[in-house]
């Protein structure tokens, strides 16, 4: 079974530029999450989708971050304009949504550096 795919793996941009990340979840997983992991911290949830609807975006900085999952499968996360403090690893995760274990499966992440 293929895991969660993310691209690009690395991205370097100047502040005030725009950037987009892509995620393809495990086949059949209805729930998709985006997390931000700043160096030395644990991942922090940005947004949760159930199919193509948003379940929780309470921690998404909506003035600069946006995300979509138009067909209920893959998803994109965009930052416009980027700030220095956005430098982090952006992790995508997916789950069946009904697992008794509650586990989420993570992709390898995209490391963003904002200069």
């Amino acid at each position: 079974e293929a895991g969660v795919a993310q691209s690009p793996r690395y991205k370097i941009i100047e502040k005030r530029q725009s950037v987009a990340f892509w995620c393809n979840p495990i086949s059949g997983h209805a729930t998709l999450y985006w997390y931000q992991q700043i160096l030395g911290q644990g991942p922090k949830l940005l947004i949760q989708f159930q199919n193509n609807g948003v379940v929780d975006d309470s921690q998404l900085p909506k003035d600069r971050f946006s995300a979509e999952r138009l067909k209920g499968v893959d998803s994109t996360l965009k930052i416009q304009p980027a700030k220095l403090e956005d430098s982090a690893v952006y992790l995508c995760a997916s789950s069946l949504g009904n697992s008794a274990l509650g586990e989420q499966f993570f992709g390898p992440g995209t490391r963003l550096t904002v200069l």
Partner: protein, 116 residues
């Protein structure tokens, strides 16, 4: 306001001995507690979880203990092996905000080093 805390940034254990990683939480609404393992340049990998209605869950060399009254959980690895060297994250899940939201709240992680 950290709802999940891992107070030990690092832990060094000899190969073959027991590794004990600790985690505290503040929100009593969490339903599940999970442990993830992370190697450099990879995403976190699920290890083991426990429901809030249980106090112990075991899977091979890994056992998680939950003490709800103390809002504390621990991960025991016995025996510790060199391949266990990684960063371990404690995470909590639950519909704390309602509506099916079950995003994970993570601690900062503990770097476990297994000495040969």
């Amino acid at each position: 306001d950290q709802q999940v805390k891992q107070n030990s940034p690092s832990l060094s254990v000899q190969e073959g001995r027991i590794s004990i990683l600790n985690c505290d939480y503040t929100n009593s609404m969490f339903d599940y507690f999970l442990w993830y393992k992370k190697y450099p340049a990879e995403g976190p990998t699920f290890l083991i979880s426990i429901s809030s209605i249980k106090d112990k869950n075991e899977d091979g060399r890994f056992t998680v203990f939950l003490n709800k009254s103390a809002k504390h959980l621990s991960l025991h690895i016995v025996p510790s092996q060199p391949g266990d060297s990684a960063v371990y994250f404690c995470a909590a899940s639950g519909s704390v905000s309602g509506g099916g939201a079950d995003g994970l709240t993570f601690g900062k992680g503990t770097h476990l080093i297994i000495q040969p």
